[in-house]
């Protein structure tokens, strides 16, 4: 069964949102979708960069009330 898991990486400087996403991606199953919540402006750029480079699927990325919601599906 694929799941949607939310990673709350709002207000964190270290380890930071992308590091948190990588941690949870390693634990997820192929097909699972993770939603990353981030208040770091950099996340809009560096998360998609990593997702594309490593070959996962970026489903959506939007800013709601100052918080980035980035959804990623584990592809491999």
């Amino acid at each position: 069964m694929s799941e949607l898991k939310t990673i709350d990486a709002r207000n964190t400087f270290c380890p930071g949102p992308l590091m948190e996403l990588i941690t949870y991606m390693k634990q997820a199953n192929v097909g699972d979708t993770l939603e990353l919540l981030s208040t770091d402006e950099g996340s809009a750029g560096d998360v998609p960069d990593w997702v594309n480079k490593v070959g996962h699927d970026l489903i959506s990325s939007e800013k709601i009330d100052g918080v980035w919601h980035v959804k990623v599906r584990k592809a491999k």
């Binding site: 400087f13 380890p15 992308l18 941690t23 634990q27």
Partner: protein, 377 residues
Amino acid sequence: MRILIVGGGTGGTIVANNLARRLAGEIRSRKVRITMLSASDQHMYQPGLLYVAFGQMMPDELYRKQKSLLEACIDFHVDPVDEFHLDQQTVKTISGKSYGYDVLVIATGSRIVPKEIPGLAEGAETFYSEAGAVKMFKALRGFEGGKIAIVVGVPHKCPIAPVELVFSLHDYFKSRGIRDKVQIKYHYPIGRIHTIENVAKWAKPAFDNMGIEYETLFNVKEVDVKNSVVMSEEGTEAAYDMLIAIPPHRGMETIEKNSLGQGGWIPTNRYQLTMDGYDDVYVLGDTTNLPVSKTGSAAHFQAEVVSENIASKIKIGAPVREYDGKVYCFIETGHDSATYAMFDYVNPPDLKEPNKPMHWFKTSYNKMYWASVRGLL
């Protein structure tokens, strides 16, 4: 009132001693009892491992007897917890004993899992264990020149360590007069050379000055030990003569086995430091799932909040403090200078120019740690 602390490392020890003082009256009148269960009779000062890897500290300098660090009224047992029965407020230990509690504190730390990456355990040096640090020192001592590749697993404790390692390597080979024969390449999992933006901004020109090469968005996938090549999830690879790894980490096996948290990371309220769903269970240090650096310093600040709140709940029936995400990290910038990064949930660190007194302060802290876990600092 039975307070049970599981884990006698940085976080657990500070909580235990802090509570022993705050609740001295209640303990004397036998209203409160503090018990600690740990996996070892020794307490290791883990940051010292970096110095061991460069021959600047001996392994025996890193240890104290755990019992000697605890207030006399704390009932201490080396008997690791095997089962957590949170709904029955009981834990069961390896020796088969059961311990009931009214308040439980979990501070079991984290462990390295190099085996999660094929070839890493066999192919890489690491200073994240005592045996590893000694082996790494001997390997560095025998190294006469060539390519050193540094790789960083995710997640890992002490996020400053990869940067400190680079500075230390540079100074070490400089002092041996062979820096020009050693090529150092640093590989980092995300899109800049450190996860903290201000650290990355500060370290980049320093790396450039030292002639350090770097590749970002490099997550170690596999090490081909036979051909001395390390491969990334992102599809790149690097050849090396010596590979140094910060291995990936997980929480302790007991935590995973008892389904307390995936990966051994326990879901924790970021302000109250209670386990999600359990007001009587506090979690601190490396084993939380908080988006906070896994450092002794975070464990220390969290320990103060946890003990103050446990004590105030006993005395006035309410918690009095929240954890603000505070972390303070020394950054060794070689063998004779240092700086620091201090930050919390909302304030990023503002890095100062490295200087000698800061390095001396860190060197003194390596000894002051023992006073700090006793609760004297």
